[in-house]
């Protein structure tokens, strides 16, 4: 048999503990004061996709080859790519236009999964609000391109894995190229 009213006293004690405790214990005051304090995002958090370039120059270091796989796979169809052409009108492996409409994007990461060149990755930038519905939310190539170093800064583990994989692929390709070169060398020699 509980003493009548004991529940109310217990409840009052709980709130009193919180009232006083929130001034002394950090655990009891978990609010982050947003503009001054930034949340420390978990490493795997993601917002919208961005494009990676290697080296210093965004244009020359661009990994994207305008294969348009991401454009085809994108469920809400928010990616828009036009392949670049050289002076002779011959297509080259580089996008002329690469737009992502982040007002449509649903952050599903499918573009990242399907990209064979590890060129597109998810960003952590979340302060994207703007006063206009259209232009500021349509990210063009210039705004999408970010350096590999930036990628390392936001997703270190994943970036290291990607780099290692790219290195393996590059080595394989070199080996294949050198093998091919060796192979092609032989017939010429033979022909000679």
């Amino acid at each position: 048999m509980n003493f009548p009213g004991s529940g109310i006293v217990k409840g009052l004690a709980v709130t009193a503990r919180n009232m006083v405790g929130s001034y002394f214990e950090k655990d009891r005051l978990t609010t982050e004061q947003y503009p001054e304090e930034r949340p420390k995002l978990p490493e795997n958090s993601r917002s919208f996709p961005f494009l990676i370039y290697d080296g210093q120059d965004p244009e020359s270091g661009m990994r994207c080859v305008a294969c348009k796989i991401c454009e085809k796979e994108c469920p809400p169809q928010c990616i828009f790519i036009i392949q670049d052409r050289d002076a002779a009108g011959k297509p080259i492996k580089r996008p002329k236009v690469f737009d992502i409409d982040i007002s449509v994007c649903m952050c599903c990461q499918i573009c990242v999964e399907v990209c064979p060149f590890e060129s597109i990755r998810m960003d952590q930038e979340y302060e994207l609000s703007s006063f206009d519905r259209f232009a500021p939310l349509l990210l063009d190539k210039a705004r999408l391109l970010k350096s590999n170093a930036y990628y390392h800064s936001i997703h270190p583990t994943e970036a290291a894995e990607t780099d290692a994989q790219l290195e393996v692929e590059r080595k394989k390709k070199e080996a294949a190229a050198s093998a091919k070169a060796a192979k092609s060398d032989k017939p010429t020699e033979a022909a000679a």
């Binding site: 009548p4 009213g5 409840g11 009052l12 709130t15 919180n18 009232m19 001034y23 005051l29 004061q33």
Partner: protein, 397 residues
């Protein structure tokens, strides 16, 4: 130094009037002016308290819920009331097309008048009663009854079903809780032998054994009556957990649904000033009014003690608001009629026995027994009746 502060408000007023008199101001102007000074001071003090409470309440509630609360406007968010006030005044004053325009306009005025009038009889300090009345307690409750009229006017004139429902709930609640409120107040009047607030405060003066204050709340019957008064005061001031009239989850905002802008601000202000008034009454009746709790602290001016105690009681009301969820309407009315009212009568009986048994140790035991037995019986029957049974869901297997 402290003696100077003790009489400071009265001295200031006398000095100011003396100054005017030396200029040859007629006597009747001085009489009216002396009243106006007091009215202005009291209203000013309570408006400042209201402004402070409106921000501190939110901060305390926030801390109880592990949040920061308002801290953007000014240092520690203390200018929040100014921002709120500007917002309230600049908002559009909406009146529904089908509303009863005159009654709709009068309701906030009628709400504010009793809230301000009842401040007249509170003893703010030693010899500081604005209107010394023979039946001050009765005045408090009689004028306070005007609030019900205002709530009804607001609810009915809005011509909105939520408003009317909220107003009917509010009236049912106020009528039900007025009984325990008045009965617990009458007990102190009975023991003190007077309906005058200053006489009741005087009856609580002095210290037993030289250090224990003889406040009514420190006796068994006084504690019970004080608790009954406090709970009923929560209901009368429409404070949580009895804030059903404006239960936003079911009634939008009750009788305030159709009010906006300055009219809403007036209601808000009247509610808070009414809360302070009833806190002041609680302090006067049970917490010894302006008396200091320890003999050594009597050097602090009496009016500081009174204001401090009001702030303390108001803080506990915020604390209760942070703790308890809103009651259901039938539970609330049942609580008033089946628990608070019998406990009020028990305290009544207990106080009478305490007085006639000589106010000694035997009286204490007797009055404790008279309180304790009904408390245990009623409390247990209540907890059993409203015990939450295990929920069963239709398709839960």
């Amino acid at each position: 130094m402290m003696d100077l502060l003790e009489g400071a408000p009265i001295q200031l007023q006398a000095w100011f009037l003396g100054l005017l008199r030396s200029f040859g101001t007629p006597e009747w102007i001085l009489a009216v002016l002396s009243a106006l000074i007091i009215i202005g001071t009291i209203i000013g003090v309570f408006l400042v308290l209201f402004a402070l409470t409106s921000v501190l309440e939110r901060k305390i509630l926030a801390r109880a819920q592990n949040r920061y609360g308002p801290n953007r406007v000014g240092p520690f968010g203390l200018f929040q009331p100014v921002a709120d006030g500007i917002k309230m005044i600049t908002k559009e004053d909406l009146v529904p097309r089908t509303a009863d325009k005159v009654v709709h306009f009068l309701a906030p005025v009628v709400m504010l008048i009793p809230a301000l009038l009842v401040l007249a009889i509170l003893p703010y300090g030693r010899g500081m009663v604005p209107a010394e009345m023979d039946s001050g307690i009765l005045f408090f409750f009689a004028v306070g009854a005007g609030t019900e009229v205002a709530v009804f006017m607001a609810g009915w004139a809005s011509n909105n079903k939520y408003s009317v429902l909220g107003a009917m709930r509010a009236i049912a609640q106020m009528i039900s809780y007025e009984l325990p409120l008045v009965i617990s107040a009458i007990i102190t009047a009975m023991v003190a032998g007077s309906l005058s607030p200053s006489a009741i405060v005087a009856a609580q003066g002095g210290f037993a054994f030289g250090f224990v204050p003889q406040w009514f709340v420190l006796t068994p019957w006084g504690f019970t009556a004080g608790l009954v008064f406090y709970i009923a005061a929560l209901a009368e001031a429409n404070r949580s957990p009895f804030d059903l009239p404006e239960g936003e989850s079911e009634l939008v905002a009750g009788h305030l649904t159709e009010y906006s802008g300055f009219k809403y601000a007036t209601f808000f202000m009247a509610e808070y000033i009414g809360m302070f008034a009833i806190c002041g009454m609680f302090v006067t009746l049970f917490l010894g009014g302006w008396q200091a709790p320890v003999p050594a602290l009597t050097i602090i001016p009496s009016w500081c003690w009174f204001l401090g105690k009001i702030c303390f009681v108001a803080f506990t009301m915020v604390w209760v608001r942070a703790t308890l969820p809103r009651l259901r309407i039938d539970h609330m009315l049942a609580f008033a009629w089946k628990f608070l009212l019998p406990m009020g009568f028990a305290a009544f009986l207990s106080a009478a026995c305490w007085h006639y048994a000589g106010r000694g140790p035997a009286a204490w035991i007797l009055s404790l027994a008279i309180i304790g037995i009904p408390y245990l019986l009623l409390g247990n029957s209540f907890t059993n009746r409203f015990a939450v049974s295990r929920r069963t869901y239709q398709f839960s297997e």
